[in-house]
Symmetry: C2
Subunit: 561 residues, 2 copies
Amino acid sequence: MGTKYTLGIDYGTLSARALLVDVNTGEEIATALYEYPHGVMDTYLPDHSTKLMPDFALQHPQDYIDALEYTITELLKKTGINNEDIIGVCSDFTECSMLPVDARGIPLCFQEKYKTNPHSYVKLWKHHAAQEEANKLNQIAEKRGEAFLKRYGGKISSEWMFPKIWQILEEDPALYHDTTKFMELADWATMQLTGVESKNSCTAGYKAIWHKREGFPSKAFFKELHPELENVIEEKFNPVVYPIGSIAGQVTKEASRLTGLKEGTIVAVGIGDAHAAVPAVGITEPGKMLMIMGTSTCHMMLGDKEAIVPGMCGVVEDGIIPGYYGYEAGQSCVGDHFQWFKDHCVPEAYEKEANERGINIFTLLSEKAEKLSPGESGLLALDWWNGNRSVLVDVDLTGLIIGMTLLTKPEEIYRALIEATAFGTKMIVETFQEYGVPVNELYAAGGIAEKNQLMMQIYSDVTNMDIKIAASPQAPALGAAIYAAVAAGKEKGGYDDIYTAAKTMGKVKDASYSPNKESVSVYESLYEEYKKLHDYFGRGENTVMKKLKKIKENVYYVNER
Amino acid sequence: MGTKYTLGIDYGTLSARALLVDVNTGEEIATALYEYPHGVMDTYLPDHSTKLMPDFALQHPQDYIDALEYTITELLKKTGINNEDIIGVCSDFTECSMLPVDARGIPLCFQEKYKTNPHSYVKLWKHHAAQEEANKLNQIAEKRGEAFLKRYGGKISSEWMFPKIWQILEEDPALYHDTTKFMELADWATMQLTGVESKNSCTAGYKAIWHKREGFPSKAFFKELHPELENVIEEKFNPVVYPIGSIAGQVTKEASRLTGLKEGTIVAVGIGDAHAAVPAVGITEPGKMLMIMGTSTCHMMLGDKEAIVPGMCGVVEDGIIPGYYGYEAGQSCVGDHFQWFKDHCVPEAYEKEANERGINIFTLLSEKAEKLSPGESGLLALDWWNGNRSVLVDVDLTGLIIGMTLLTKPEEIYRALIEATAFGTKMIVETFQEYGVPVNELYAAGGIAEKNQLMMQIYSDVTNMDIKIAASPQAPALGAAIYAAVAAGKEKGGYDDIYTAAKTMGKVKDASYSPNKESVSVYESLYEEYKKLHDYFGRGENTVMKKLKKIKENVYYVNER
């Protein structure tokens, strides 16, 4: 048997990429990228005249089909590889991104009558217009004492499946009725290859309140949300869930014609993009936390029992690696934090210096911040510019910085913001440990992990842990390719289980970060202070942040009159 | 009797100005300015080779003599006024600025043997190298239960007279022994005109721990500081104190030759520069607080009894207006605050916009901040970038800002810093009121009061009080001229008391600031939150600011090893 390949297709927020991987070595052979022509639609529909309400964030599903066609055709062309040697395909997608489809799985927005109806398009993960439904859902769930709430840190996000479905029912009942199924895009993208729907356990668990033994929430619960939602699972959603790594189907004749893949090629069930990164760094057992660091950070963990950890985003059996409980936590302001600082707080002299030296402003800031010792600035911050996801689950918290003097410099503030996010991570790690989910080692993936050495060293010093870095800059696509190899199975040249597949194909860089003893001890003292501020402002002793928000809202209201 | 004039001479930190004022109307006829050639010496002596220790801030007394000669000669020349029509002169000076002199009042630094000895020069008010002595002095005074401590908010500053004298004794006993008198510069400058020393009650009270009935601290106290200081008052300082507004002497033949003033012209005792501003705005009775707003803010108040107000800088009978108790409080970071923000936190785009429009960056920031409603930013700050003088008296406190989101803009932070200083003022006003010193009206003088309308409106809204603005941009010099008119007396064309003099010659602008009702109510809510943070971080419940400083100091120590 010659060299075999699998294909991971990663659908991101602005583009999709396909990655061709050597199954035996995990070597990334080639990649092809396609940017969505419609991007994110948050002001108008493609007709340029239908205006969208605030907080809408839509996408056009035609972009995904075009991406599928372009990237795979391009990969086959530029590698010259025989499509027979591609033994499996798997798609990962941003989550929860969802779409109403008809009986044949065709998006309602493709119908002439729905072209100008926003609710017929894809609601992207960051569509935030279902907040009202999310709030009501949480109230009702709490009142009913629904057990699922605590599996999601006490709150279902407005970004998830059922608030989005409910928003459609509330705002456009006719469209709701015309919908045969509401589909998660990870499943819909997979269906473009197989022709059949195979709901995956990852996004079902993390975004649609599915539990391996308890299933979806009860009819009574849905009925209390809205009488017409009573049978939403059976009528509009499809209750059958497949564990990740299993076979979703085979490439159809139509899909073969579209992409050039061989008809009959094995297709794995889809997976959420963040979760797909876990096997890509070789993690298949408990004790290892993967941080996916971008504008925000997702923390992925495996555990061998179902523990309730305060503030986690979710715990799902078979959610990340089959056979384990997958835990997810999150920090809502990481890269965004530094971007805010760059946009609003960097003085002209620094921009000038960066320009003159021909370097990026972040490079300059890092260079200056790197020269500082831990504790030297006397600054401490709470990284809540975008609220706090884990462990407090409170979007109304805001940022704090303390310790400024007349000698405080921009790079000191910049470093304090980095440290604050590291303290936030340490808080998550400690909370997991306290509640019985051990964390012994850290892994990092994503743009920041790749580029920002200062930040990664600070994270290592603050957490007093080694940090390994993903070798692949496209970890989700690689993870998908690994799952494709599992679905294909050993007989076809793949693997029979995810453990062997991930150990062989998943990769971290040779160089890792190790804590520096002196820094660790200074950061321990600083963390004590961080914790005190964290609890004082975050756990209700001083609610100034909420009061300031309330005052601000009142001002807006008065100004609007 | 034709028009009569008095002369106020204001010795500031970088220059001196003389101001000629019409006694009958208070009209400012002419002014002349002289910049000190030696400026502030904080690195080298004038020989450019004698290096100064950290925190030294010295001046050269020759600069004052040259200023006296130049400014008065210039004034007489450019106005053509007959020197017979100038009926009085008074000098105000930065405080405590002090100098060792010989038996004839000549500075030791004029002697060849002392030319290269830093301790022979003027220790300017902001000479901070006597901190160790100040700390020890405060410890001993506290241990002994010295009653004077509470008149100064519990702490004698390192800027004041006795820490500075003690530093000289510690570091150069020989020079201490060669010194006949240590003089406050307000008195020394006056002596340049009169030939005799007449210690004034203002700087004696505020800077040299003098009390009208209790006099200076006891011999036993001074002895405990250092055996040789036991008789410092009699031996090195001169215990006789004259109330402000009284006659110090007359212009001598030598001074007449130097300046062109008529020999025999009445000279009033000197006064501290900040305190001189009070009569210049017409304040001669209790209930009115004058804020002198520059890099920091001084608050001046009159009371008819001696109350102990926590955190005040001093209460001195006859200290500001004879017959009343003069109260002083202070905020250590006002203009400095905004300068820090401008230097370190204003993004390039704003600098560019200001440049393109040909306006000052502060003008641009104010313009943007002015468009915001109170409470709209959701931000709140503690204005402790330079510690807190009143009411907490704690230099180890540091700045705090809370409420940031990813949408927070620079002008919102700028406005929050302004508001923080206004809340600090309100805290001072409330503390005075709580301890029996009523404050009914605010007055403001200094560069900020003159120029920053946004800031003054915010102060009016936050304090819910009218604010009158000094009409004169040179309030201290005008105040000195008013005191000169009192010393001259009615018979010579002046006044017999400061009340009439100040009512006639002191001035505020026609336009004043009045609180806006809606803003007042929002600021009341914000102030509640400010107070809570103020007390939590300022009164020892959470000592994070001090701990961060301690960690920072340890880092410096480790790095220095």
